[in-house]
């Protein structure tokens, strides 16, 4: 799993522990969800929802950061599928202030299929190895390699269109 998840292990299983985990993990999780969903507001909702669910079962979660990480990725993918069209359009009129050469990459990323996008974000932003991405996404490592390759090619196609 990624280094920052390892760094946050061992949280106290209490309300105080919950608050500590919340404060520590929130920014990173929202950023991750933002990159997957393409929407800052959707990302905040996704992460809040995950924390609500986590709080309900807090005493029974052995690895809070790993749980939160995987839950945010899972739920972001689900939200992105449901809001695919809206988000596609949102990305075209990007709400993120980016230099042109990066803006076109961001828009291209928003246009590729959800699974490929997720795999690329986990690889290129979270710096997860293939095995860890497979664990997070619930697929085989070979599938992750394929998703990354196909995502890579899809983005190149979008950028050259």
């Amino acid at each position: 799993m990624s280094s920052w998840i390892d760094d946050m292990s061992g949280a106290e299983q209490s309300v105080g522990g919950f608050r500590d985990v919340y404060e520590t993990a929130l920014p990173r999780l929202v950023r991750l969800a933002h990159l997957i969903t393409g929407s800052n507001s959707a990302a905040e909702d996704v992460v809040h929802d995950v924390f609500v669910a986590a709080y309900r079962r807090w005493g029974r979660i052995d690895d809070p950061y790993g749980y939160l990480y995987r839950a945010v990725v899972n739920r972001s993918r689900s939200v992105l599928r449901r809001r695919a069209v809206e988000l596609e359009h949102a990305a075209e009129s990007s709400t993120v202030d980016l230099p042109p050469e990066l803006d076109e990459v961001w828009i291209a990323l928003s246009k590729i299929p959800v699974k490929r996008r997720t795999a690329l974000v986990l690889r290129y932003y979270a710096d997860l190895p293939v095995d860890a991405i497979a664990e997070v996404m619930g697929v085989r490592p070979a599938t992750v390699r394929s998703l990354i390759h196909r995502g890579y090619m899809s983005m190149r196609k979008e950028l050259n269109a």
Binding site: Y22, L35, A84, E88, H89, D97, K115
Partner: protein
């Protein structure tokens, strides 16, 4: 590392650095402490934030209990069930009928840190502004037992906190019917993550409410900046309200019962049948949040198919099932 790798990493880092983060931890903790029935609040939080009936498996017991770790409520195996066409599973007749207590139960669902009621996916409205990005929101300011009007739909677009448009007024709003290009559905189906089990893009469906936030005519003014949406002026608010009632009934059914996967699927199919195949999208979403083995139908009038889409909220599990499209 290639130039492309570098650009991609730089883009992701740049976007991540610009991400706005709001802290709402008190909403979670305080709401859980004041609620006598924590199962309800967690479910409703998910209900509101994720949108729709995804959290319904949490709303199982009637009355709910504080047994967070407990399993689902006993399944209602009483008689009087009817079998939807094409399914061997029988469902309770009242699962698609709003019962007297359903509205109250829905309106009493507590929301974390908010004074509004939960929203329904059938209240979805798309707002297109003359400038700025379109917004998808819900016309959920109206009481759930009152019909939504076109003014309510327009109001949702005027009052949305994320709109950057200015000089909005109800007089400048035009409410239209929106439909998606079939390629949208085809992309979903080809993704392999969803499976069509009923319906089709060729069939008629009520579309979804679209508000044009400027003086315009639905027939002459298309949303040209949007690649996949076309407009017509024949939006049926009655269809929207009918969908609301059906969705409310399904919500109530999930509150009262622990539905098996097959029952949820049958309920979604039955909902499609109730509206003459006019549900745009209905799927089954599984969740093992607190209540493993309980499922709820996900009904969304934006889409054209009944699909099976099981994505567990429990981490590292994503399950897709395949169902005969002709069944």
């Amino acid at each position: 590392m290639s130039d492309f790798d570098t650009r991609l990493r730089e883009t992701l880092d740049h976007v991540a650095a610009s991400t706005k983060v709001s802290r709402r931890v008190d909403e979670i903790v305080l709401d859980s402490r004041r609620r006598p029935q924590p199962r309800f609040a967690a479910a409703v939080a998910a209900f509101v934030l994720v949108g729709g009936v995804f959290a319904l498996p949490l709303l199982l017991s009637d009355p709910p209990t504080d047994d967070v770790a407990g399993g689902p409520a006993p399944h209602n195996a009483a008689g009087g069930r009817s079998a939807p066409e094409g399914s061997s599973v029988v469902i309770e007749p009242d699962w698609l009928t709003v019962e007297p207590g359903d509205v109250a139960a829905f309106e009493e669902i507590p929301l974390p840190g908010a004074g509004e009621r939960a929203s329904l996916r059938s209240e979805t409205v798309w707002c297109f502004y003359e400038e700025g990005r379109p917004i998808e929101t819900r016309a959920s300011s109206v009481a759930v037992d009152q019909p939504v009007t076109t003014d309510d739909l327009a109001s949702a677009c005027i009052t949305h906190p994320e709109t950057t448009a200015s000089d909005l007024s109800s007089e400048s709003m035009t409410v239209c019917r929106g439909v998606f290009d079939p390629s949208v559905y085809e992309e979903w189906a080809s993704s392999g993550e969803m499976t069509v089990i009923s319906g089709g893009v060729e069939g008629s469906h009520p579309g979804f409410p679209v508000v044009l936030a400027w003086q315009s005519d639905c027939n002459s003014q298309t949303v040209t900046s949007h690649p996949t949406v076309a407009l017509t002026d024949d939006l049926s608010v009655d269809a929207v309200n009918r969908a609301r009632q059906l969705e409310l009934a399904a919500v109530a059914a999930a509150i009262r019962n622990c539905l098996s996967y097959d029952e949820s699927q049958a309920l979604a199919k039955a909902a499609v049948g109730e509206l003459g195949q006019q549900w745009i999208h209905a799927s089954i979403k599984g969740s093992d949040e607190l209540t493993e083995g309980c499922f709820q139908p996900f009904i969304d009038q934006q889409w054209g198919w009944v699909i099976t889409d099981i994505v567990r909220d429990e981490p590292s599990t994503s399950v897709t099932t395949t169902t005969d499209p002709t069944s």
